[in-house]
């Protein structure tokens, strides 16, 4: 096993799947010679040619609609949205059309496409290069949504997403691209969509998270271990299908639940996790459900001071967990 970064793992996954299946192709802004602004597709144009690594005009609605049309024909497009903040012009095709294509044709059509979206903050992106967009897709039946936190998960899940016959929104947290490194098997492997991963087992509190903040949760858990507070950290990995079983099992064991995400708190994914547990594991709850999430302001601002004030951190998480443990 070699240690790789998240971006390397993603590039490998795309490369391997393109080599494996001629139907797989990449399209998006600057994905060709430029290799994408984050270099996720670096070298692919040279290796697979311009026909399978298509530099598109600057027009997200058409990127999504054209990918969708190609998927109708049986291709396996991987459209890239350069930044999550620019996905909005495309959602008519994504939320409106792609998510309803299989259902709306009573299963006659499938949509084997993976929409890669770099997202999230903590990188001085300001209001238009930091957005968390996961909830909009999480709340759209017909879409699958993946949000990995490690190179290992990113590669295994992306390969599965590419082989899946449904539109999969694949969310890559920009800050994890180079910051998060980890072991990735040299041999071929995939990870199933819809299965959460317990990144740390514990007995006293269940913390549910995904993406960048998952790492902050692990830091906090580490810190609290020294204080005798034993925290279990559940990495959702896939938001849709949501692994309700793993979440419920964990809470039934620990009796306490905290949810952490960077996205705005109100109406976020954490709200659903809380509602799920309050509805189906009520008897097991020994305390209020805590949410440590981004505040309800329009994305994190540009200035370092304001961005820091917005972001959930290991310390903020640890404080909340201490209170919960003391409850």
């Amino acid at each position: 096993m070699a240690v790789k970064s998240v971006i390397e793992a993603i590039r490998e996954a795309i490369r391997e799947e393109m080599a494996r299946d001629p139907k797989v192709f990449v399209m998006g802004e600057d994905v060709g010679v430029r290799g994408g602004v984050f270099l996720a597709t670096q070298g692919l144009s040279e290796e697979f040619g311009e026909d399978r690594v298509i530099d598109t005009p600057l027009a997200e609605a058409s990127i999504m609609g054209i990918a969708l049309g190609a998927a109708f024909r049986g291709m396996r497009p991987i459209p890239e949205v350069q930044f999550s903040d620019f996905v909005w012009p495309s959602v008519n095709q994504l939320i409106g059309e792609a998510a309803r294509s299989c259902y709306g044709t009573n299963g006659a059509l499938q949509v084997p496409m993976v929409i890669r979206i770099p997202y999230g903050g903590g990188i001085r992106g300001g209001l238009f290069h930091s957005q968390n967009v996961e909830t909009h897709f999480f709340h759209t039946p017909g879409l699958k949504v993946v949000a990995p936190s490690t190179p290992y998960d990113a590669k295994g899940l992306l390969k599965s997403a590419i082989r899946d016959n449904n539109p999969v929104v694949f969310l890559e947290h920009k800050k994890t691209y180079r910051l998060v490194r980890g072991e990735v098997p040299d041999e071929e492997y995939t990870l199933p969509l819809g299965k959460a991963d317990i990144k740390r087992t514990g007995s006293m509190i269940t913390v549910v998270s995904y993406g960048l903040t998952l790492h902050y949760c692990l830091e906090a858990a580490e810190e609290l271990a020294g204080e005798g507070i034993d925290v279990e950290v559940v990495d959702l990995r896939t938001l849709t299908p949501l692994d309700t079983e793993t979440i419920l099992e964990s809470v039934k064991k620990t009796g306490k639940l905290a949810i952490v995400h960077e996205d705005n708190i109100t109406g976020g994914v954490g709200a659903e996790v809380a509602a799920l547990v309050a509805g189906q594991a009520f008897e097991y709850l020994d305390g209020p459900i805590a949410r440590i999430c981004g505040p309800d302001v329009p994305t994190m601002p540009f200035a370092q001071t304001l961005e820091d004030a917005y972001m959930p951190t290991a310390d903020k998480i640890a404080d909340a967990l201490r209170k919960l443990a003391a409850y």
Binding site: S62, I66, L68, M75, E97, T105, L109
Partner: protein, 353 residues
């Protein structure tokens, strides 16, 4: 096809204003690839579509069809282009909600059509999940996911891209109204198709209304086909009330598309009915406008042509119409008696296998 700015003059068979204006076509040898049998065949399909269309509207008033958009007045454009596509043999269609005649003529049985409008389990497009004849009819090479205006354009371009990747020579015909040209996605679809020289024929059925909004309120330009120049491909305006002219323009467009890339065909048509069964067009359509338009009714025009060219007798024309009516009656009864989709199907196919 010449790669220059379009004018009506360039339209395949003369000015839209004159052609078909007097209804019948002057005696003349049929255009390339067309046999008299084709005209009879397509007249038969057209009258069947018209008969179903009229019945569906009536059924709506009886509360048996929740919603319908009529293609009355658009039939020549829809069937003329379909005829060219069928003769070519390797075309795929992305119609829009007003393409009832196109969808019927493409091969559905009257019973299937009625099942769809009544939201019965026998609906071939979506098994009653969607508005009538919306979803997909893959046996007849048709996809129409939604009635969101202009949403099908980028999809059709992507479909053409997929066909090319699969090594096929399929030409894609995508249909839309004048209203759809205002949507940003229409601009994006045309631009991408042009860059990649994809074999897509953009067919604009211009009836000069988007519900109540007249063309002058939608755009400054006279001819929508002139927009093609901004993307670097040819655009033409033809008389959409004339089946043969629409056939010819589409046939040429198919040849051009396969060899050199996209074409924009603006077919000038008339909307005989209100926007949908929910609309009341008296609020916004000038007195007498529809009546004048009906003088150019494509069904009557084609019938007259068949008779004047000595292809069919009045009697034969009447028999065809009678048979269509019979089929419509029968289909109505069968569909009415058939069962709706079972509610247990609500959760099926949210995701594919």
């Amino acid at each position: 096809m010449p790669r220059k700015r379009t004018t009506r003059a360039q339209a395949s068979s003369g000015s839209t204003r004159t052609a078909g204006a007097n209804g019948a076509r002057s005696k003349s040898p049929l255009p390339k690839g067309l046999k008299t049998a084709d005209l009879v065949d397509y007249y038969t399909r057209m009258i069947q579509a018209r008969s179903l269309d009229e019945r569906i509207w009536a059924l709506n008033r009886q509360g048996k069809v929740p919603i319908a958009a009529s293609s009355q007045g658009h039939e020549a454009a829809q069937l003329g282009s379909l005829l060219a596509a069928e003769k070519d043999g390797d075309c795929f269609l992305f119609p829009y909600y007003r393409d009832l005649a196109l969808k019927v003529a493409a091969g559905l049985t009257p019973v299937q059509v009625m099942m769809s409008f009544m939201g019965k389990a026998g609906d071939p497009y979506s098994k009653g999940r969607q508005f009538p004849l919306q979803g997909a009819d893959l046996p007849h090479k048709i996809i129409q996911i939604s009635n969101v205006v202009a949403a099908g354009l980028t999809q059709s371009v992507g479909y053409a891209l997929g066909c090319r990747m699969a090594g096929e020579k399929t030409v894609v015909l995508v249909y839309f109204g004048d209203g759809a040209t205002s949507q940003g996605e229409t601009h994006e679809a045309m631009n991408f198709a042009a860059i990649h020289k994809l074999p897509v024929i953009f067919i604009c059925e211009n009836n000069r209304y988007a519900i109540s909004t007249p063309q002058r309120t939608q755009m400054v330009i006279e001819e929508i086909s002139s927009r093609a120049a901004g993307y670097g491909f040819p655009g033409f305006t033809v008389d959409g009330m004339d089946l043969v002219q629409c056939y010819e323009a589409t046939r040429e467009a198919i040849t051009h598309a396969r060899a050199q890339g996209p074409v924009l065909l603006e077919m000038m048509v008339e909307r005989f009915m209100a926007h949908t069964t929910d609309d009341d067009d008296r609020r916004y359509r000038p007195e007498g406008e529809v009546e004048r338009a009906r003088e150019r009714d494509p069904v009557i025009t084609l019938a007259r042509t068949l008779i004047e060219e000595g292809i069919l007798s009045q009697k034969q024309v009447d028999e065809i119409a009678a048979e269509a009516l019979r089929a419509t009656d029968e289909a109505t009864d069968i569909a009415d008696a058939s069962s709706p989709p079972d509610e247990s199907g609500l959760y099926d196919s949210v995701y594919g296998p």
